[in-house]
Protein backbone atom coordinates (compact mmCIF):
# COMPACT_ATOMS: atom_id res chain seq x y z
CA UNK A 1 0.00 0.00 0.00
CA UNK A 2 1.23 3.53 -0.79
CA UNK A 3 2.52 5.55 2.14
CA UNK A 4 1.36 9.09 1.37
CA UNK A 5 3.53 10.93 3.90
CA UNK A 6 6.63 9.06 2.73
CA UNK A 7 5.87 9.93 -0.88
CA UNK A 8 5.50 13.60 0.13
CA UNK A 9 8.82 13.48 1.95
CA UNK A 10 10.62 11.85 -0.99
CA UNK A 11 9.06 14.33 -3.41
CA UNK A 12 10.26 17.18 -1.21
CA UNK A 13 13.78 15.75 -1.22
CA UNK A 14 13.72 15.38 -5.02
CA UNK A 15 12.45 18.94 -5.38
CA UNK A 16 15.32 20.27 -3.27
CA UNK A 17 17.81 18.23 -5.34
CA UNK A 18 16.31 19.55 -8.58
CA UNK A 19 15.83 23.21 -7.68
CA UNK A 20 18.69 23.78 -5.26
CA UNK A 21 21.19 21.26 -6.61
CA UNK A 22 23.61 24.09 -7.33
CA UNK A 23 23.42 25.32 -3.74
CA UNK A 24 24.01 21.82 -2.40
CA UNK A 25 27.06 21.46 -4.66
CA UNK A 26 28.50 24.74 -3.29
CA UNK A 27 28.39 23.52 0.31
CA UNK A 28 29.53 20.04 -0.72
CA UNK A 29 32.57 21.27 -2.64
CA UNK A 30 33.83 24.32 -0.74
CA UNK A 31 34.47 25.63 2.73
CA UNK A 32 33.00 29.07 3.29
CA UNK A 33 36.37 30.87 3.19
CA UNK A 34 37.49 29.02 0.06
CA UNK A 35 34.23 29.74 -1.73
CA UNK A 36 34.22 33.46 -0.96
CA UNK A 37 37.97 33.79 -1.52
CA UNK A 38 37.78 32.09 -4.92
CA UNK A 39 35.08 34.48 -6.10
CA UNK A 40 36.89 37.51 -4.68
CA UNK A 41 39.99 36.50 -6.63
CA UNK A 42 37.89 36.21 -9.80
CA UNK A 43 36.31 39.59 -9.00
CA UNK A 44 39.76 41.16 -8.57
CA UNK A 45 40.93 39.80 -11.94
CA UNK A 46 37.67 40.75 -13.67
CA UNK A 47 37.67 44.26 -12.24
CA UNK A 48 41.32 44.81 -13.17
CA UNK A 49 40.66 43.61 -16.72
CA UNK A 50 37.64 45.93 -17.02
CA UNK A 51 39.62 48.85 -15.59
CA UNK A 52 42.29 48.25 -18.24
CA UNK A 53 39.61 48.25 -20.93
CA UNK A 54 38.17 51.45 -19.49
CA UNK A 55 41.64 52.99 -19.43
CA UNK A 56 41.99 52.12 -23.11
CA UNK A 57 38.79 54.04 -23.84
CA UNK A 58 40.02 57.00 -21.80
CA UNK A 59 43.39 56.78 -23.52
CA UNK A 60 41.67 56.97 -26.90
CA UNK A 61 40.17 60.29 -25.85
CA UNK A 62 43.01 61.80 -23.88
CA UNK A 63 46.16 60.58 -25.55
CA UNK A 64 46.88 64.03 -26.98
CA UNK A 65 46.45 65.61 -23.58
CA UNK A 66 48.89 63.07 -22.07
CA UNK A 67 51.51 63.77 -24.74
CA UNK A 68 51.17 67.48 -24.16
CA UNK A 69 52.23 67.12 -20.49
CA UNK A 70 55.61 68.66 -20.03
CA UNK A 71 57.38 66.52 -17.48
CA UNK A 72 57.40 62.92 -16.28
CA UNK A 73 56.33 64.11 -12.83
CA UNK A 74 53.17 65.69 -14.22
CA UNK A 75 52.40 62.48 -16.06
CA UNK A 76 52.98 60.45 -12.89
CA UNK A 77 50.63 62.75 -10.93
CA UNK A 78 48.05 62.26 -13.63
CA UNK A 79 48.26 58.49 -13.35
CA UNK A 80 48.21 58.52 -9.54
CA UNK A 81 44.70 59.95 -9.85
CA UNK A 82 43.66 57.04 -12.09
CA UNK A 83 45.26 54.56 -9.71
CA UNK A 84 43.30 56.07 -6.80
CA UNK A 85 40.08 55.61 -8.77
CA UNK A 86 41.09 52.03 -9.51
CA UNK A 87 41.76 51.30 -5.83
CA UNK A 88 38.51 52.89 -4.64
CA UNK A 89 36.47 51.06 -7.29
CA UNK A 90 38.19 47.79 -6.54
CA UNK A 91 37.48 48.13 -2.83
CA UNK A 92 33.78 48.80 -3.44
CA UNK A 93 33.54 45.92 -5.93
CA UNK A 94 35.29 43.49 -3.60
CA UNK A 95 33.02 44.45 -0.70
CA UNK A 96 29.95 43.86 -2.91
CA UNK A 97 31.40 40.52 -4.05
CA UNK A 98 32.07 39.50 -0.45
CA UNK A 99 28.50 40.35 0.62
CA UNK A 100 26.91 38.56 -2.37
CA UNK A 101 28.87 35.33 -1.94
CA UNK A 102 28.62 35.39 1.84
CA UNK A 103 24.83 35.53 1.56
CA UNK A 104 24.82 32.84 -1.14
CA UNK A 105 26.90 30.48 0.98
CA UNK A 106 24.69 31.07 4.01
CA UNK A 107 21.58 30.33 1.95
CA UNK A 108 23.22 27.22 0.53
CA UNK A 109 24.09 26.03 4.05
CA UNK A 110 20.48 26.46 5.14
CA UNK A 111 19.30 24.48 2.11
CA UNK A 112 21.82 21.75 2.89
CA UNK A 113 20.63 21.61 6.49
CA UNK A 114 17.01 21.27 5.38
CA UNK A 115 17.98 18.61 2.87
CA UNK A 116 19.93 16.58 5.44
CA UNK A 117 17.07 16.81 7.95
CA UNK A 118 14.70 15.35 5.40
CA UNK A 119 17.15 12.62 4.46
CA UNK A 120 17.55 11.68 8.12
CA UNK A 121 13.79 11.63 8.52
CA UNK A 122 13.52 9.28 5.55
CA UNK A 123 16.28 7.08 6.91
CA UNK A 124 14.51 6.81 10.27
CA UNK A 125 11.36 5.72 8.46
CA UNK A 126 13.22 3.00 6.59
CA UNK A 127 14.80 1.77 9.83
CA UNK A 128 11.39 1.71 11.50
CA UNK A 129 9.85 -0.20 8.58
CA UNK A 130 12.76 -2.66 8.60
CA UNK A 131 12.12 -3.41 12.27
CA UNK A 132 8.42 -4.00 11.66
CA UNK A 133 9.11 -6.37 8.75
CA UNK A 134 11.51 -8.54 10.76
CA UNK A 135 9.87 -8.98 14.17
CA UNK A 136 11.39 -12.44 14.77
CA UNK A 137 14.88 -11.06 14.49
CA UNK A 138 14.06 -8.38 17.00
CA UNK A 139 12.76 -10.99 19.43
CA UNK A 140 15.89 -13.12 19.11
CA UNK A 141 18.04 -10.08 19.80
CA UNK A 142 16.17 -9.27 22.98
Amino acid sequence: MLNESKIKLMTGISMIEKDKGKDLAIVHRYFKGDYIGRHMLCAFLGYTFCWCLGLLLVAACKVEEWFSLLSLKELADYFVGYAAWYAAGLLVYLVITFIVYFIRYRRASLTMRRYLERLKNLERRYEFQGKIKEPGREVRKS
Binding site: L56, A60, T97
Partner: protein
Amino acid sequence: MIAVYVFREKLRSFYGRYDVFITPAVRFLLGFLAFHLINGELGYMTKVNNILVELVLALVCSVLPYGVMAFLAALMILAHVSSVSLELTAILAVLMVMVGILYYGFQPGDSYLLVLTPIFFHYNIPYAIPILAGLSGSLTSAVPVCCGTAMFYIFQYVKQNAGVLSGEASAELIQRYAQIIRSLLMNQAMIVMMATCGAGVVAVYLIRRLSVKYSWAIAVGAGVVVQLGMIFMGDFLFNVSVPMGPLVVSMILSVLLSAAYYFMVFAVDYSRTEYLQFEDDDYYYYVKAVPKISVTAPDVKVQMFNRRRKGSAREEGYME
Protein backbone atom coordinates in the same frame (compact mmCIF):
# COMPACT_ATOMS: atom_id res chain seq x y z
CA MET B 1 -14.79 40.04 -9.20
CA ILE B 2 -15.20 36.31 -8.57
CA ALA B 3 -15.29 35.73 -12.33
CA VAL B 4 -11.92 37.44 -12.67
CA TYR B 5 -10.42 35.27 -9.93
CA VAL B 6 -11.86 32.19 -11.62
CA PHE B 7 -10.24 33.33 -14.86
CA ARG B 8 -6.94 33.69 -13.03
CA GLU B 9 -7.22 30.18 -11.62
CA LYS B 10 -8.02 28.84 -15.07
CA LEU B 11 -4.97 30.60 -16.47
CA ARG B 12 -2.82 29.13 -13.71
CA SER B 13 -4.07 25.61 -14.25
CA PHE B 14 -3.60 26.05 -18.00
CA TYR B 15 -0.01 27.16 -17.44
CA GLY B 16 0.57 24.30 -15.00
CA ARG B 17 -0.68 21.80 -17.56
CA TYR B 18 1.14 23.16 -20.61
CA ASP B 19 4.19 24.91 -19.12
CA VAL B 20 6.47 22.66 -21.19
CA PHE B 21 5.16 24.43 -24.29
CA ILE B 22 4.27 27.86 -22.88
CA THR B 23 7.72 28.71 -21.48
CA PRO B 24 9.59 28.08 -24.78
CA ALA B 25 6.81 29.89 -26.65
CA VAL B 26 7.20 32.96 -24.42
CA ARG B 27 10.98 32.86 -24.85
CA PHE B 28 10.56 32.54 -28.60
CA LEU B 29 8.19 35.52 -28.69
CA LEU B 30 10.46 37.65 -26.51
CA GLY B 31 13.51 36.72 -28.59
CA PHE B 32 11.71 37.45 -31.82
CA LEU B 33 10.53 40.84 -30.51
CA ALA B 34 14.05 41.72 -29.37
CA PHE B 35 15.74 40.72 -32.63
CA HIS B 36 13.01 42.37 -34.68
CA LEU B 37 13.43 45.58 -32.67
CA ILE B 38 17.21 45.55 -33.22
CA ASN B 39 16.78 44.97 -36.93
CA GLY B 40 14.10 47.65 -37.12
CA GLU B 41 16.16 50.25 -35.27
CA LEU B 42 19.62 49.48 -36.57
CA GLY B 43 19.23 47.28 -39.65
CA TYR B 44 22.43 48.43 -41.35
CA MET B 45 23.88 45.00 -42.07
CA THR B 46 21.71 43.53 -44.79
CA LYS B 47 22.83 39.94 -44.14
CA VAL B 48 21.48 40.06 -40.59
CA ASN B 49 18.47 42.25 -41.36
CA ASN B 50 16.32 39.35 -42.41
CA ILE B 51 13.20 37.90 -40.82
CA LEU B 52 14.56 34.38 -41.31
CA VAL B 53 17.58 35.23 -39.14
CA GLU B 54 15.25 36.67 -36.49
CA LEU B 55 13.12 33.52 -36.50
CA VAL B 56 16.10 31.16 -36.34
CA LEU B 57 17.72 33.11 -33.49
CA ALA B 58 14.41 33.28 -31.62
CA LEU B 59 14.02 29.53 -32.07
CA VAL B 60 17.49 28.97 -30.63
CA CYS B 61 16.66 31.26 -27.70
CA SER B 62 13.39 29.43 -26.99
CA VAL B 63 15.27 26.44 -25.58
CA LEU B 64 18.21 28.25 -24.01
CA PRO B 65 18.49 30.56 -20.95
CA TYR B 66 17.79 34.28 -21.20
CA GLY B 67 21.52 35.00 -20.88
CA VAL B 68 22.07 33.47 -24.31
CA MET B 69 19.34 35.72 -25.73
CA ALA B 70 21.07 38.79 -24.29
CA PHE B 71 24.41 37.60 -25.68
CA LEU B 72 22.99 36.99 -29.18
CA ALA B 73 21.23 40.37 -29.10
CA ALA B 74 24.55 42.02 -28.17
CA LEU B 75 26.27 40.28 -31.10
CA MET B 76 23.51 41.40 -33.45
CA ILE B 77 23.83 45.01 -32.27
CA LEU B 78 27.61 44.91 -32.79
CA ALA B 79 27.15 43.43 -36.27
CA HIS B 80 24.82 46.24 -37.30
CA VAL B 81 26.92 48.99 -35.72
CA SER B 82 30.07 47.63 -37.40
CA SER B 83 28.49 48.49 -40.74
CA VAL B 84 28.26 52.12 -39.62
CA SER B 85 31.37 52.77 -37.57
CA LEU B 86 34.14 50.47 -36.41
CA GLU B 87 35.12 52.94 -33.67
CA LEU B 88 31.64 52.86 -32.18
CA THR B 89 31.63 49.05 -32.47
CA ALA B 90 34.86 48.85 -30.48
CA ILE B 91 33.53 51.21 -27.81
CA LEU B 92 30.24 49.33 -27.52
CA ALA B 93 32.05 45.98 -27.37
CA VAL B 94 34.24 47.26 -24.53
CA LEU B 95 31.20 48.59 -22.62
CA MET B 96 29.32 45.31 -23.13
CA VAL B 97 32.28 43.23 -21.97
CA MET B 98 32.58 45.43 -18.87
CA VAL B 99 28.90 44.97 -17.99
CA GLY B 100 29.17 41.26 -18.74
CA ILE B 101 32.13 40.76 -16.44
CA LEU B 102 31.24 43.14 -13.63
CA TYR B 103 27.53 42.41 -13.30
CA TYR B 104 26.83 39.12 -15.05
CA GLY B 105 29.89 37.63 -13.34
CA PHE B 106 27.55 37.26 -10.35
CA GLN B 107 25.17 35.10 -12.45
CA PRO B 108 22.13 37.07 -11.28
CA GLY B 109 19.67 35.32 -13.62
CA ASP B 110 17.78 38.46 -14.64
CA SER B 111 19.03 38.86 -18.21
CA TYR B 112 15.42 38.96 -19.40
CA LEU B 113 15.20 42.49 -17.94
CA LEU B 114 18.08 43.57 -20.15
CA VAL B 115 16.15 42.33 -23.19
CA LEU B 116 12.74 43.57 -22.04
CA THR B 117 13.74 47.14 -21.18
CA PRO B 118 14.50 48.38 -24.75
CA ILE B 119 11.32 46.63 -25.94
CA PHE B 120 9.25 48.56 -23.37
CA PHE B 121 10.99 51.78 -24.37
CA HIS B 122 10.24 51.05 -28.02
CA TYR B 123 6.52 50.64 -27.28
CA ASN B 124 6.49 53.89 -25.23
CA ILE B 125 5.82 52.27 -21.86
CA PRO B 126 9.25 52.70 -20.27
CA TYR B 127 7.87 53.47 -16.81
CA ALA B 128 6.32 50.01 -16.50
CA ILE B 129 9.60 48.14 -16.51
CA PRO B 130 11.04 49.63 -13.26
CA ILE B 131 7.76 48.93 -11.48
CA LEU B 132 7.56 45.36 -12.78
CA ALA B 133 11.24 44.75 -12.03
CA GLY B 134 10.78 46.12 -8.50
CA LEU B 135 7.73 43.89 -7.94
CA SER B 136 9.26 40.74 -9.36
CA GLY B 137 12.99 41.08 -8.89
CA SER B 138 15.49 42.27 -6.34
CA LEU B 139 17.44 45.43 -5.62
CA THR B 140 20.09 44.47 -8.18
CA SER B 141 17.45 44.37 -10.93
CA ALA B 142 18.15 48.10 -11.22
CA VAL B 143 21.42 47.24 -13.00
CA PRO B 144 19.99 45.36 -16.04
CA VAL B 145 17.13 47.89 -16.27
CA CYS B 146 19.63 50.77 -16.39
CA CYS B 147 21.80 48.91 -18.93
CA GLY B 148 18.73 48.23 -21.09
CA THR B 149 17.84 51.93 -20.90
CA ALA B 150 21.35 52.88 -21.99
CA MET B 151 21.08 50.39 -24.85
CA PHE B 152 17.89 52.02 -26.10
CA TYR B 153 19.50 55.47 -26.10
CA ILE B 154 22.53 54.04 -27.92
CA PHE B 155 20.12 52.75 -30.60
CA GLN B 156 18.72 56.25 -30.88
CA TYR B 157 22.18 57.79 -31.08
CA VAL B 158 23.29 55.41 -33.84
CA LYS B 159 20.05 55.93 -35.73
CA GLN B 160 20.26 59.72 -35.59
CA ASN B 161 23.97 59.95 -36.35
CA ALA B 162 24.48 57.09 -38.79
CA GLY B 163 25.41 59.49 -41.59
CA VAL B 164 27.97 61.36 -39.52
CA LEU B 165 29.41 58.18 -38.02
CA SER B 166 29.89 56.45 -41.36
CA GLY B 167 31.62 59.51 -42.89
CA GLU B 168 35.26 58.57 -43.46
CA ALA B 169 36.86 61.97 -43.62
CA SER B 170 34.91 63.68 -40.89
CA ALA B 171 37.80 63.87 -38.42
CA GLU B 172 40.89 62.16 -37.18
CA LEU B 173 40.58 58.75 -35.55
CA ILE B 174 41.32 59.99 -32.02
CA GLN B 175 38.95 62.91 -32.35
CA ARG B 176 36.23 60.59 -33.58
CA TYR B 177 36.76 58.27 -30.61
CA ALA B 178 36.59 61.19 -28.22
CA GLN B 179 33.49 62.56 -29.89
CA ILE B 180 31.67 59.22 -29.80
CA ILE B 181 32.55 58.54 -26.17
CA ARG B 182 31.43 62.01 -25.12
CA SER B 183 28.19 61.70 -27.06
CA LEU B 184 27.47 58.26 -25.62
CA LEU B 185 28.38 58.85 -22.00
CA MET B 186 27.35 62.49 -21.66
CA ASN B 187 23.88 62.03 -23.10
CA GLN B 188 21.84 63.81 -20.44
CA ALA B 189 18.50 62.35 -21.50
CA MET B 190 20.01 58.89 -21.11
CA ILE B 191 21.46 59.71 -17.69
CA VAL B 192 18.12 61.11 -16.48
CA MET B 193 16.20 58.06 -17.70
CA MET B 194 18.74 55.67 -16.19
CA ALA B 195 18.47 57.48 -12.84
CA THR B 196 14.65 57.44 -13.14
CA CYS B 197 14.52 53.72 -13.84
CA GLY B 198 17.08 52.86 -11.17
CA ALA B 199 15.29 54.93 -8.53
CA GLY B 200 11.95 53.43 -9.60
CA VAL B 201 13.20 49.85 -9.14
CA VAL B 202 14.74 50.60 -5.75
CA ALA B 203 11.65 52.45 -4.45
CA VAL B 204 9.20 49.77 -5.59
CA TYR B 205 11.36 46.94 -4.24
CA LEU B 206 11.88 48.53 -0.82
CA ILE B 207 8.20 49.42 -0.34
CA ARG B 208 6.72 46.13 -1.54
CA ARG B 209 8.80 44.29 1.08
CA LEU B 210 7.35 46.33 3.95
CA SER B 211 5.06 44.51 6.33
CA VAL B 212 2.10 46.83 5.82
CA LYS B 213 -1.30 46.33 4.27
CA TYR B 214 -1.47 46.79 0.51
CA SER B 215 2.30 47.13 0.32
CA TRP B 216 2.34 46.08 -3.35
CA ALA B 217 -0.28 48.66 -4.33
CA ILE B 218 1.55 51.35 -2.35
CA ALA B 219 4.80 50.28 -4.04
CA VAL B 220 3.25 50.72 -7.50
CA GLY B 221 2.02 54.19 -6.53
CA ALA B 222 5.38 55.11 -5.03
CA GLY B 223 7.14 53.87 -8.16
CA VAL B 224 5.04 56.21 -10.29
CA VAL B 225 5.63 59.18 -7.94
CA VAL B 226 9.38 58.56 -7.72
CA GLN B 227 9.72 58.26 -11.48
CA LEU B 228 7.71 61.43 -12.06
CA GLY B 229 9.83 63.21 -9.45
CA MET B 230 13.05 62.09 -11.12
CA ILE B 231 11.84 63.25 -14.52
CA PHE B 232 10.89 66.67 -13.17
CA MET B 233 14.27 66.89 -11.43
CA GLY B 234 15.94 66.01 -14.71
CA ASP B 235 13.94 68.72 -16.40
CA PHE B 236 14.90 71.22 -13.69
CA LEU B 237 18.60 70.31 -13.36
CA PHE B 238 19.61 69.17 -16.86
CA ASN B 239 16.91 70.81 -18.94
CA VAL B 240 15.80 67.44 -20.30
CA SER B 241 12.19 68.05 -21.19
CA VAL B 242 9.68 65.22 -21.59
CA PRO B 243 6.37 65.93 -23.38
CA MET B 244 3.52 65.80 -20.85
CA GLY B 245 0.87 64.04 -22.97
CA PRO B 246 2.85 60.89 -23.80
CA LEU B 247 4.28 60.89 -20.26
CA VAL B 248 0.82 60.75 -18.68
CA VAL B 249 -0.46 58.12 -21.13
CA SER B 250 2.67 56.04 -20.61
CA MET B 251 2.32 56.29 -16.82
CA ILE B 252 -1.33 55.20 -16.96
CA LEU B 253 -0.45 52.22 -19.19
CA SER B 254 2.41 51.34 -16.85
CA VAL B 255 0.11 51.39 -13.84
CA LEU B 256 -2.42 49.21 -15.66
CA LEU B 257 0.26 46.68 -16.60
CA SER B 258 1.61 46.66 -13.06
CA ALA B 259 -1.91 46.24 -11.67
CA ALA B 260 -2.41 43.23 -13.96
CA TYR B 261 0.84 41.70 -12.75
CA TYR B 262 -0.06 42.47 -9.11
CA PHE B 263 -3.44 40.84 -9.58
CA MET B 264 -1.97 37.71 -11.20
CA VAL B 265 0.85 37.20 -8.71
CA PHE B 266 -0.08 38.72 -5.37
CA ALA B 267 -3.81 38.48 -4.74
CA VAL B 268 -4.26 38.36 -0.98
CA ASP B 269 -7.15 39.06 1.36
CA TYR B 270 -5.98 41.54 3.99
CA SER B 271 -9.36 41.46 5.78
CA ARG B 272 -8.58 37.91 6.98
CA THR B 273 -5.09 38.68 8.25
CA GLU B 274 -4.14 36.66 11.33
CA TYR B 275 -1.53 37.45 13.94
CA LEU B 276 0.08 34.45 15.62
CA GLN B 277 2.50 34.20 18.46
CA PHE B 278 4.41 31.12 19.54
CA GLU B 279 7.80 30.06 20.84
CA ASP B 280 10.33 27.26 20.68
CA ASP B 281 13.52 26.63 22.65
CA ASP B 282 15.43 29.46 21.00
CA TYR B 283 12.96 32.11 19.74
CA TYR B 284 9.66 33.87 20.19
CA TYR B 285 7.77 34.15 16.92
CA TYR B 286 5.40 36.99 16.02
CA VAL B 287 3.82 35.92 12.76
CA LYS B 288 1.50 37.84 10.49
CA ALA B 289 -0.32 35.50 8.13
CA VAL B 290 -2.17 36.98 5.16
CA PRO B 291 -4.31 34.43 3.29
CA LYS B 292 -4.13 34.24 -0.46
CA ILE B 293 -7.32 34.64 -2.43
CA SER B 294 -7.97 31.32 -4.06
CA VAL B 295 -11.12 30.49 -5.94
CA THR B 296 -11.78 27.08 -7.36
CA ALA B 297 -13.19 27.09 -10.85
CA PRO B 298 -16.78 25.79 -10.85
CA ASP B 299 -16.84 22.27 -12.17
CA VAL B 300 -20.14 22.23 -14.02
CA LYS B 301 -21.34 18.83 -15.13
CA VAL B 302 -24.51 18.55 -17.13
CA GLN B 303 -26.11 15.18 -16.95
CA MET B 304 -28.72 14.39 -19.57
CA PHE B 305 -31.60 12.26 -18.34
CA ASN B 306 -33.75 12.25 -21.48
CA ARG B 307 -31.39 11.79 -24.35
CA ARG B 308 -32.94 12.08 -27.73
CA ARG B 309 -32.39 9.19 -29.97
CA LYS B 310 -32.38 9.25 -33.67
CA GLY B 311 -35.65 8.03 -34.99
CA SER B 312 -37.55 8.68 -31.73
CA ALA B 313 -41.30 9.14 -32.07
CA ARG B 314 -41.16 12.93 -31.60
CA GLU B 315 -38.33 13.46 -34.03
CA GLU B 316 -39.93 11.22 -36.54
CA GLY B 317 -43.14 13.19 -36.13
CA TYR B 318 -41.21 16.44 -36.70
CA MET B 319 -39.62 15.03 -39.79
CA GLU B 320 -42.99 14.21 -41.13
